[in-house]
């Protein structure tokens, strides 16, 4: 049983990483939101499995929180935003997807290398997934760097939070509940504020492309 759930966690962790790569190369913003919701779902399932196999009851609450917040509310808000901003069919021009993917692979190698000594110390059932968690954090960060539109950048930011959450679950069976609630609230409030910013940015520059913000530089 122990071994089986370990395998399951690894499977979902691998799917998480795969979705991160998918997000890195996805050009349609709408599909990006769906991928983000899917990533949240993977996170929820793997948290439930960890909770079940390690008998950590508070992890069930975390999983429920993740499900509500990251699979339902945030994607819904993002969809609504896309409709209101009228950018539903936006397609982003990305520079050279294969290069980005290669950089991403290098990052994964780096993350695994980094996580190796930490995983050796930990005795948790999830120890092998720490590398994946860190890789997905770095990949989300990379995604924020390569995107030029505002909405995908925010999705990158949220995905990074997913990776951090996964890292916490896999390294130490999750953070204390208070911290988790706090982070969840932060993400939600951050989302609202960024939503307001989207409208402001569009009003100022007639576009959500962040390269227009270069004009704000002081010479």
């Amino acid at each position: 049983m122990e071994n089986f759930s370990g395998q399951l966690i690894n499977l979902f962790a691998a799917l998480l990483l795969l979705i991160s790569f998918g997000m890195l190369s996805q050009r349609r913003v709408l599909s990006l939101i769906n991928l983000f919701a899917l990533q949240g779902l993977m996170l929820t399932i793997s948290t439930v499995i960890v909770a079940y196999s390690s008998h950590q009851h508070h992890l069930y609450y975390s999983a429920a929180l993740t499900l509500v917040l990251k699979v339902i509310i945030l994607p819904w808000i993002l969809h609504r935003l896309m409709r209101k901003l009228n950018v539903k069919w936006d397609i982003e021009t990305l520079f050279n997807i294969p290069t980005t993917m290669l950089v991403g692979i290098a990052l994964v190698v780096f993350a695994f290398n980094l996580a190796a000594p930490i995983s050796m110390m930990g005795g948790a059932i999830t120890k092998s997934t720490l590398g994946i968690a860190m890789a997905s954090v770095l990949l989300s960060f990379l995604m924020m760097i390569t995107r030029s539109k505002a909405v995908p950048q925010v999705i990158g930011f949220l995905a990074m939070e997913n990776g951090l959450f996964f890292a916490a679950t896999s390294a130490t069976y999750g953070m204390p509940m208070v911290v988790e609630l706090g982070i969840a609230l932060d993400v939600l409030v951050g989302m609202f504020i960024l939503g307001i910013f989207f409208f402001q940015i569009r009003e100022t520059f007639d576009s959500l492309d962040l390269k227009h913000m270069e004009k704000l530089k002081e010479d």
Binding site: F110, N113, L114, L138, I145, S148, M213, L216, K217
Partner: protein, 670 residues
């Protein structure tokens, strides 16, 4: 009376701090000019009186310690009231009684909302100075120190709509923060790796000679920035004229002394090593500062700027005393060190009174005439006789004339100098008489400066017509000025009692006192070392002066007045003489400007003889601006342009910066 028996002096002094903060808040909430000037400022003066009394009571008593339940978790605030703190608290309380009373009169025309804010900042400033003096750990000290800097910054920029005042405030804030960084580093070194920042740990940490010296240099730099030691003096002549007069009086009279307190606390109390060149360094810096200050004071034409330079001079003299005490202490001549330290503390106390008096006096002149420029004042003794009399006391005191207080401390300091040929260091023995001569030069020049200051403002004929409408001072202003003037007289006439007050401090820092020798021939006669060497009786001198003056007046009235007649002056070929033909501040300072021209950056515009509307302009600038500060500013600007290149305005590049930093840190940690 259970309550009284458990009430320690430290409770009283801390109570006064809380009381001041509450008064400040009340002022902020009331915003009513009448209420603030008539009740809150006098109430603040009452608090100062209680503070001074408590400090006086605890001098020579047991050391009080308290831990406040404030601060960060596991990092509470420690307070301590020992002799050194008590002496400086006495200085703070005694001088601020006069200044607070004066403020009650001075600010009567200020609009309520501005005054409410000012009243808040003023009392926070007072409270934070008291906290600096009572702090017993580096954390509390820095919090209080920064509060002091910030509250005084806002006080300086009270009139923030004037661009020059904003600029002056900025310079002040900049220098204050550079100094605060040095002080922070000084405490960091001094805790000696214990990670505990209480002063008790620092006292017991035995640093090596090298680290002790580093600490001392950092402290000298950091506190020197606040005190105005050369070359960190630049903020003083800018900030003092910008601030309202009572604030200038607080800053010059008291705040500069907190820096002196800091130097003494670090060098004589917290550090246990004592190396002779520290003292020589302080002595040299002090002499240069004193001479610089007095020469620049002699060529100023703005009365508050003149007083600011005079403050630099006095800080220099105090630093000379500290240097001398440190040198003697390093050579284990503690009796002489006690003499030098006594002179230093005495001078600090004196300066608080006399500079406070002069600064608030200039406030009254400013209030009555609206003029700060010496070239447009004159003859005020006819219109403001009470102010003129009180200011005369301050001017005589700061010029170092007996029987007033300035003389006593400078005389004691010179005694300490003259006794130095016992040092086991031949170069020092040769150099110290030179230093003594330089000190005498500085005090003589300060007499010159005060003749100029007093003569140009009060004597002669009014140089402008508007001066005829100048009104004399009100009741609160007169009370404040009288308090400080009385202080100047009493401190000068009863030096033995003052020395007995200073004794606990020298006992604590050096293990030696001066009181028993000073009073060996009775309280009437001050004898620093032996009666056959030198002694001074201010009271007898005072009586002789008074009798002499009365006798002269009597003689003049009796024999000369009968033949007095007023006639037109010999007009020297100028049929029309105006008041503007009197000797001016510039004219009076001209010899000094000629002699020291290489040190002063003098710019003068002299009109041609055929000019129909001749216009003369002369200005003496501080050369250190061009030689030291402008290069620093240029280098800073260059570096910031280079740093500015990092700013692309592209969000991706910013993200890339943090990404690369993250990766580098992760790789580094691994």
């Amino acid at each position: 009376m259970i309550f009284a028996s458990t009430l320690l002096p430290i409770d009283v002094t801390f109570g006064v701090i809380v009381y001041w903060l509450l008064l400040g808040l009340a002022g902020l909430l009331l915003q009513n000019t009448r209420a603030i000037t008539q009740y809150i400022f006098p109430a603040g003066a009452l608090g100062a009186l209680i503070l001074a009394a408590a400090a006086l009571g605890s001098l020579g008593g047991a050391v009080n310690v308290a831990v406040l339940p404030l601060g960060l978790p596991d990092l509470p605030f420690h307070l301590r009231l020992d002799a050194l703190s008590a002496f400086f608290l006495l200085l703070l309380g005694a001088a601020s009684i006069g200044i607070s009373l004066y403020s009650a009169g001075y600010f009567r025309d200020m609009p309520g909302n501005t005054l409410g804010l000012l009243c808040f900042e003023y009392h926070v400033f007072l409270a934070s100075m008291a906290l600096v003096l009572m702090a017993d750990d580096a954390y509390m000290f820095m919090v209080a120190w920064e509060t002091m800097a910030l509250s005084s910054y806002f006080l300086v920029t009270t009139d923030h709509k004037v661009p020059e005042i904003r600029q002056a405030g900025f310079i002040y804030l900049l220098v204050a923060h550079v100094g605060a960084i040095a002080i922070l580093m000084c405490f960091g070194v001094m805790q000696g790796g214990h990670g505990d920042y209480t002063f008790a740990t620092m006292r017991s940490a035995h640093l090596t000679e090298f680290w002790s010296s580093v600490t001392f240099l950092l402290a000298l730099f950091g506190f020197g920035a606040k005190a105005g030691i050369l070359p960190l003096h630049i903020w003083l002549p800018e900030a003092h004229p910008a601030a309202p007069s009572p604030v200038s009086a607080l800053m010059s009279g008291i705040m500069l002394k907190t820096a002196i307190y800091g130097i003494l606390r670090v060098s004589l109390d917290l550090l246990d090593a004592h190396i002779w060149w520290w003292g020589v360094l302080a002595l040299t810096l002090g002499l240069i500062t004193a001479l610089f200050g007095v020469i620049f004071a002699a060529v100023q034409t703005d009365m508050k700027r003149l007083l600011a330079y005079s403050s630099i001079e006095n800080i220099g003299i105090i630093l000379v005393g500290i240097g001398l005490a440190l040198t003697f202490h390093a050579f284990e001549k503690d009796a002489l060190a006690a003499l030098a330290l006594t002179a230093t503390l005495y001078h600090a106390l004196n300066h608080a009174f006399m500079k406070g008096l002069l600064f608030i006096g200039t406030g009254s002149v400013l209030h009555a005439t609206g003029e700060r420029n010496l070239g447009k004042l004159g003859g005020l003794i006819h219109h403001m006789p009470k102010l003129a009399l009180l200011m005369l006391v301050g001017a005589l005191a700061i010029a170092g004339l007996p029987p007033l207080n300035g003389f006593v401390s400078e005389w004691l300091l010179l005694q300490a100098f003259l006794l130095s040929p016992g040092l086991p260091h031949s170069y020092l023995n040769m150099l110290i008489p030179v230093a003594a001569a330089a000190l005498v030069l500085a005090s003589a020049l300060s007499g010159y400066v005060m003749v100029k200051f007093y003569g140009v403002i009060f004597l002669g004929q009014p140089r402008e017509k508007t001066l005829h409408e100048a009104h004399d001072i009100g009741i609160f202003e007169r009370l404040g000025l009288t308090w400080l003037a009385l202080g100047c007289i009493l401190l000068g006439v009863f030096p033995v009692f003052v020395i007995l007050l200073i004794d606990p401090v020298t006992q604590m820092l050096l293990g030696q006192t001066l009181g028993s020798t000073a009073a060996q021939t009775g309280w009437l006669l001050l004898t620093p070392i032996q009666p056959e060497r030198a002694s001074y009786s201010p009271l007898i001198l005072f009586l002789i002066i008074v009798v002499g003056v009365i006798f002269t007046i009597f003689l003049v009235k009796k024999f000369y007045h009968g033949r007095l007649r007023r006639g037109p002056a010999w007009d020297c070929g100028f049929p029309e003489q105006t008041a503007r033909m009197q000797d001016t501040a510039e004219g009076f300072g001209q010899p000094i400007r000629q002699i020291f021209e290489p040190f002063l950056g003098v710019t003068r515009i002299v009109p041609s003889p055929f000019d129909k509307k001749p216009h003369y302009h002369g200005e003496s600038r501080d050369r250190l601006w061009n030689l030291l500060y402008l290069p620093i500013a240029r280098v800073t600007e260059k570096i910031s342009v280079m740093v500015g290149k990092l700013q692309h305005g592209r969000i991706h590049v910013y993200l890339l910066y943090s990404f690369v930093t993250l990766l580098a840190l992760l790789a580094f940690i691994r």
